[in-house]
């Protein structure tokens, strides 16, 4: 029989056979899989998984100023979202205040503008922080935004010990793929170990790093590269914590992961399963963690923004549903589903509601959450899980040859691997070897956009600039300058920076002022542009 295509590969280029049989798998159940909740956790980290509790439906959201976003959070909570996730605007992500010349045109545009504790207070107005967990996608200035959040918690009367949430705080992947770095790698790692140490004592439920493959994948990597580079980063953080004198079991349980859910269903499921197994083995056998909870790879998943198409955007609902399914079949702890319009703008309420409903349909209608790791034992899925693991191990060896993650970053290794994979994929699409519906097949001539797009009020920038100016004029200058001086001295020495940054937050210093003080001590990172 004639075949439709000459080659059958996964989206990452892994050759896929027509049929998998017992010949393709060599598994010892107890050694390689284990029951859910048992080492090496290939089948899941909990013995009851979604029967005990459905994953957290956590929609990433933020635009305009704190009031706009506070309204959106209340809308999402009203529609059944079970966790919050803050999208900051680019100036906040890069450590600039809204009135910095560098913020021109970007205030509140692709996320919410947060300049000070005052903005954070408005962001969470009427939302009790002790009753919800919040994830904040923030890296270079993560310590500052965490400080703002903790201060809001205190003002609401919550005890820090009961506050749960996540800061992304994964600076290594910024150099590798996402590019919102501020300081050079080594002082960045110092700040991160300060946060790990501080939270292990003061905010024990806080996830101090969300080690992220999402952005690596969005930048164009393959599934195996996402898996390998992310776990290599995770291992580097564990080693940095140990090198800073921390007990591995004191911080390892608060490391979480963040993966992409791309469109190739089985490859993604295999990726999550392999990730749990590799991490458990590393933590137990190499990092010397003794507490079983340190062996668990807990992860958040977001469906792939880069798989969405500007053409026929309604089709993105279907893509997102398939991707979300892979995350659930792969045992995710929380999930963000993209909205169909995110390839064009920030999502409208309508679009984000459909995205959330997609998760609810998967959770409560399809029955896929009734049993744990339903694809275990599939010859194909087990073979693909082994393949993912083998490819990752190969990358670990190559990274080791550079001398470690930091050295491989300095050499441009990750950046080149990803750029090459992105280019290879784009060429496949151009040649028509890779079909993208509505883009290179099944196009509609003269297609007109039939959906409404969100517009961010252009007045936000001016409003936010005025707020910062007012704040600077009205706060106690003595308190502010005292806190800033103490921070500078701490950064020059080896004090834990978190308490000092919290003092700065309480004194209503702005994010930009705090970050600038640290830049004066630590310097700034400069990339070597390669393509």
């Amino acid at each position: 029989m004639a075949q439709e295509r000459k080659e059958f590969n996964s989206i990452s280029g892994v050759p896929i056979k027509p049929l998998y049989t017992p010949e393709d798998v060599d598994i010892d159940y107890d050694r390689d899989l284990g029951n859910p909740g048992q080492y090496p956790y290939t089948r899941g980290i909990h013995s009851d998984m979604y029967r005990g509790r459905v994953w957290t439906m956590r929609q990433f959201s933020g635009f305009g100023d704190a009031d706009d976003t506070n309204q959106r959070y209340k809308f999402l909570l009203g529609r059944g979202t079970t966790g919050l996730s803050v999208a900051f605007d680019m100036p906040t992500i890069m450590g600039f205040d809204s009135d910095s010349p560098r913020a021109l045109g970007e205030v509140g545009v692709c996320g919410v503008a947060i300049d000070s504790l005052q903005d954070m207070e408005r962001l969470f107005a009427d939302i009790p922080l002790k009753d919800i967990t919040t994830s904040m996608t923030i890296n270079g200035p993560a310590s500052v935004l965490l400080a703002f959040y903790l201060c809001v918690g205190s003002e609401q009367g919550a005890n820090w010990r009961e506050l749960g949430g996540t800061i992304q705080n994964d600076i290594l992947k910024e150099y590798i793929a996402q590019n919102s770095w501020i300081f050079p790698p080594r002082p960045s790692l110092r700040i991160i170990t300060d946060i790990m140490d501080f939270c292990s004592r003061e905010v024990p439920l806080w996830n101090t790093i969300s080690i992220s493959g999402y952005h690596i994948r969005e930048a164009g990597s393959t599934a195996a590269q996402e898996l390998a580079f992310t776990l290599a980063d995770g291992m580097a953080y564990v080693e940095a914590g140990i090198a800073a004198g921390l007990d591995v079991d004191s911080f390892a349980q608060r490391l979480s992961f963040f993966f992409n859910a791309h469109i190739d269903l089985f490859e993604e499921i295999a990726k999550y399963r392999a990730a749990r197994r590799i991490w458990a083995r590393f933590m137990k056998e190499k990092a010397g963690a003794r507490d079983e909870r340190s062996w668990l790879l807990r992860f958040h998943t977001q469906t792939a923004g880069c798989s969405l198409t500007a053409q026929q955007p309604e089709n993105n609902i279907v893509r997102t549903a398939c991707e979300a399914l892979s995350a659930v079949l792969g045992g995710t702890q929380s999930l963000h589903t993209n909205s169909m319009d995110e390839v064009l703008a920030l999502p409208t309420e309508k679009a984000v509601e459909i995205a959330l409903r997609t998760q609810q349909v998967i959770a409560y209608e399809t029955g896929v959450a009734n049993t744990i790791d339903p694809l275990a034992g599939s010859y194909f899925v087990e073979a693909l899980t082994d393949e993912m693991e083998a490819q990752a191990e190969d990358y670990f060896r190559r990274i080791e040859e550079f001398g470690g993650v930091l050295e491989a970053i300095d050499a441009g290794f990750f950046q080149r691997e990803i750029a090459y994979a992105a280019y290879r994929y784009q060429k496949e699409v151009e040649r028509g070897d890779r079909i993208v519906v509505g883009v290179n097949r099944f196009q509609v001539d003269g297609e007109e956009l039939a959906i409404e797009l969100l517009k961010v009020d252009p007045a936000v920038e001016k409003r936010q600039q005025e707020r910062v100016a007012e704040l600077r004029a009205s706060r106690s200058q003595a308190k502010a300058s005292c806190a800033l001086t103490a921070l500078k001295a701490g950064a020059q020495g080896d004090a834990n920076l978190m308490p000092l940054i919290i003092d700065c937050a309480r004194a209503y210093l702005t994010e930009g002022e705090i970050i600038q003080t640290l830049k004066d001590v630590f310097g700034e990172y400069r990339e070597v542009p390669i393509f």
């Binding site: 890069m94 021109l104 919102s180 784009q426 993208v436 393509f531």
Partner: protein
């Protein structure tokens, strides 16, 4: 032999999404253009300065942060101001239809959005400089 067309690919503003810029830079380079990629987080002033220093024929801006309505006109203004008003300005990113129309009305030569084939970008530039 005709002079090789020189193109600056730049990412003004703060967003770090450089996948598109890098893929386009590589495709243009493979198509025989001379490509300079200036890297991330460039201010409009830095972009215009590089364009003048490198004596480029075209500047391609990649913007995925939503700041395109500020950054395109600002780069264009600075190019004119520094005597490089004849440099062709084009770009790409997450840019809605109505903004594309507005930018083109202000003199931006073309905007390519997600899904635009590399071949289309190459042939557009070839035609402009034919």
């Amino acid at each position: 032999m005709p002079r090789v067309i020189r193109i600056l690919i730049a990412k003004p503003g703060l967003d770090g999404h450089d996948r598109g810029a890098k893929v386009v830079a590589r495709a243009l380079s493979e198509a025989g253009f001379e490509v300079i990629y200036s890297g991330l987080h460039q201010t409009p002033e830095q972009v215009a300065e590089t364009a003048v220093q490198e004596d480029v024929d075209a500047v391609g801006l990649s913007i995925l942060s939503g700041a395109h309505m500020t950054l395109f006109p600002e780069v264009q203004r600075l190019l004119v101001e520094s005597g490089a008003g004849d440099v062709m300005l084009f770009g790409g990113g997450i840019i809605p239809e109505e903004d594309i129309a507005a930018l083109k009305a202000q003199g931006v030569a073309e905007i390519f959005t997600p899904g635009a084939p590399l071949a289309e970008i190459v042939s557009f530039i070839r035609k402009k400089f034919a």
